[in-house]
Symmetry: C2
Subunit: 356 residues, 2 copies
C-alpha cells in the first residue's frame, strides 16, 4: 500500500485523505487545516447563494495555498410541488415547535429560493476552483465540458454500482463510494430501485470492479484500521467526515457535539424529516415526531427550507432535539481537537499499519 | 497478518474461515467440504426436530473427521400469539398463492410445533458436538454451563456493540459480528432500539474494541480483499455464506441460484415477510405482496410456519417469486463450483494479499 497513487497525483495532494464536505459544519478553517496538512479539504457550498459561496471560497483561499475541493449539490429541482402537503407539514411543524418552545417562522410560496449548481458555476470559474466534488446526482454535460476545459478535477458521489457507472460515463475523474455507514445526506440519485443501503464492505469492491477511475471510500472511517480496510477493498483514497464533527473548526454547537460524543452504534438512523432527502443522524425528537406524523414529507429542497428556521433557532437555543444531528455509525470516535491534530493522528495511525 | 491466531487455536482449525450456517441451503456435504479443506463448516439445525438434527450431525461426521460447528437458534418463543392476525395473514397468503398458482396448505393452531435449542441439547451432547454457534439471542446460563463443562466452544452472533457485550458477559468464546451486508436472517436480539443496521466497516472495529474474545467478521465477504479488510478492522476470522449459495453442495434449486447469479448490489432488501424475523434476500413478488398488504406479520417462528409449505411448493415448482432468496449484498460473486474449490480459491486469493 502506497500513500502516493493515481488519486493523489490527480488531485496534487500529498495524502489520499479527503475531509468530507459537511454543510453547516465545515468551515473554511477546517478545509484549510486539512489541506495544509497534506490532505484534501472540501468546502460545501450546495444550495448557497453565489455571492455567499464566493465569500467562503475566498476565505478558504486566504487560509491555504494548497488544493481543496468545492462541493456542489447536483440534484434537479422537483418539477412540481404539492403546496397542500407543504401547508400541512408547515402547520404540523408550527404546532410541534410551540409544544417544545422552539421559535418558528412561516414560509410562503414566494419565500422559497433555491440555488442550483448552475447558478454557482460562474463563481467557481472566476475563483479558479481546481477540484469540484458533488453529490445528489450528475452534473449536466455542458457544465462538465466547461469545467474540464479549465482542467477542473471532478469527484462524483455514488451509493451503488449503477450510480458509479453513470458518473464514470458522465466524465468524472474519480468517484466517492458512500457506504451506508456514512453520516449526513445520502448521495443517491437513481430512482429505479429503493434507496441503496449498501455497506462499504460490499460497495467499495463492487464499485472498484465496475469503473476505471479511482474510487474514494466514504462512510464510517475513523482511524488507520479503517483506511487500511478501505485500501484492501480497492479504494485509492478515503473521505472522512464525522471524525471532524467535534473539531475546534467545526461549526456544530455544543449540544450537537455532546450528542455525537455520546452516540452509540445503534443511535443513528436515516431520515427525510429535516431536508426531504435521506440522511443519517442521531435520532431525536424532531425526527421521531415528523415520522410519526404520517404526513407526506415534501421533497428536497422544499422540506429543507421549511425546517431551516427551526434548525437555526434550535442551534441558538441549544435544543439538540430540533437540530439535525448528522453523524455516521462511528461518529462517537470524533475527538475534541483541532482539525490539524485530528488529521495528523489519523494519518499516523494509518502509517503505523502501512507495512502490517 | 497471520493465518494462525487465537481463533484458529480455540477452534482447532487450520484457517480462520468459517462457512456460514444457511438453513435450507447448507448440507452436510458443504459443511464437510469446508472442514476438510481446513476451514470451519457450520451445520444449521435451528428449529429442527432433535432426531432430524441428529441425522444431519451423524451424516456430517461420516463425511469429515475435522471440527465443524453446529448452529442453533437461540430465540425465545413469543409469549402470546395473536391468532386473529395469523388467520388474516393465512387468508391473504391463500389468495396470493391462488393468484400465482402456488400450492398452498393451511395451518391450524394445533399444527404449530416449535423446537427450541433446549430441545436439541441432549442430541448435541450425545453426538459430542465440539463447537456450537448460535444466533437470534443468548443461550440460557444452564445450557452454557452444561456445554462449557464438556469443553464445547461457543460462538454467539451480534449485530451491534450492545449485543456483543451481552454475549461476552454470558460466557461465549467468540463473537460473530454480522454486518448489514449479510444475507439471510439478522441475528439481532436486543429490542430497546430499532433493528441495528450497522455496516461492517463500523461494526467490526467497534465490537473488537468492546469485547476481549475473538471476533469473526460476517457479511459481504467474498474474496481475499474482503478477508484482508476484515482483519484490518481487527477481526480474527471471517464467516462466509453467500459465496457458497451456488456451490454443488448447496440445496438451493436452480431458480434460486439463477436469482443470486443475476442479483445486483441494489437487488436485496430486509424483509420480515417469510419468517417473521428480519432477513436479507433478493426482492421478489412474495416479499413485495406481503409488505404491500399492510397486514401485521406474525412474529417468528409463527410466520415461518405459515410460509413453510408455500416455500416448499415454490421450490418444487421452480417459482423464484415465492422462494426466500436469501443472499448478501455481494451474493452475485458466488461461483457454481464445488465447496472445496470455492474455499480453496477464497483462501488463495487471501494468501496472495497476506504480505501486500
Amino acid at each position: 500500500m502506497e500513500l502516493t497513487n493515481q488519486l493523489t497525483q490527480q488531485l496534487a495532494v500529498r495524502y489520499p485523505i479527503i475531509q468530507a464536505p459537511m454543510l453547516g459544519i465545515t468551515t473554511p478553517e477546517m478545509v484549510a487545516a486539512v489541506s495544509n496538512a497534506g490532505g484534501l479539504g472540501s468546502l460545501p457550498i450546495g444550495g448557497l447563494a453565489p455571492e455567499k459561496a464566493r465569500q467562503l471560497i475566498r476565505k478558504t483561499k486566504s487560509l491555504t495555498g494548497k488544493p481543496f475541493a468545492v462541493n456542489l449539490f447536483a440534484h434537479t429541482l422537483p418539477t412540481e410541488v404539492d403546496w397542500d402537503s407543504v401547508e400541512k407539514m408547515q402547520h404540523f411543524l408550527e404546532e410541534l415547535c410551540a409544544k417544545y418552545g422552539v421559535t418558528f417562522s412561516r414560509f410562503s410560496e414566494e419565500d422559497f429560493t433555491f440555488y442550483t449548481y448552475q447558478d454557482q458555476l460562474e463563481v467557481l470559474q472566476e475563483e479558479e476552483v481546481g477540484i469540484v466534488s458533488f453529490t445528489f446526482g450528475l452534473l449536466d454535460s455542458l457544465s462538465i465540458a466547461l469545467l474540464h476545459k479549465r482542467d477542473v478535477k471532478l469527484i462524483g458521489t455514488a451509493t451503488c454500482v449503477e450510480e458509479a457507472i453513470l458518473l464514470e460515463e458522465s466524465g468524472v475523474d474519480m468517484i466517492s463510494a458512500q457506504g451506508i455507514e456514512a453520516g449526513g445526506h445520502r448521495g443517491s440519485f437513481t430512482s429505479n430501485h429503493p434507496l441503496p443501503m449498501i455497506g462499504s464492505m460490499t460497495l467499495i469492491p463492487q464499485v472498484v470492479q465496475s469503473v476505471k477511475v479511482p474510487v474514494v471510500a466514504a462512510g464510517g472511517i475513523s482511524d488507520g484500521m479503517g483506511i487500511k480496510a478501505a485500501f484492501s477493498l480497492g479504494a485509492q483514497g478515503v473521505q472522512v467526515g464525522s471524525l471532524f464533527l467535534r473539531s475546534h473548526e467545526s461549526a456544530a454547537n455544543e449540544a450537537y457535539k455532546e450528542s455525537i460524543l455520546h452516540s452509540k452504534d445503534t443511535d443513528t438512523a436515516l431520515t427525510r424529516s429535516f431536508s426531504g432527502r435521506w440522511a443519517r443522524g442521531v435520532v431525536n425528537q424532531f425526527m421521531k415526531s415528523v415520522e410519526a406524523s404520517g404526513l407526506s414529507i415534501p421533497p428536497y429542497p422544499v422540506q429543507n427550507s421549511l425546517t431551516a428556521a427551526i434548525r437555526a433557532s434550535a442551534k441558538k437555543q441549544g435544543k439538540k432535539d430540533f437540530l439535525s444531528l448528522w453523524g455516521g455509525q462511528a461518529a462517537s470516535k470524533a475527538p475534541a481537537k483541532s482539525s490539524r491534530e485530528i488529521f495528523d493522528e489519523l494519518l499516523s495511525s494509518f502509517r503505523i499499519l502501512l507495512n502490517g
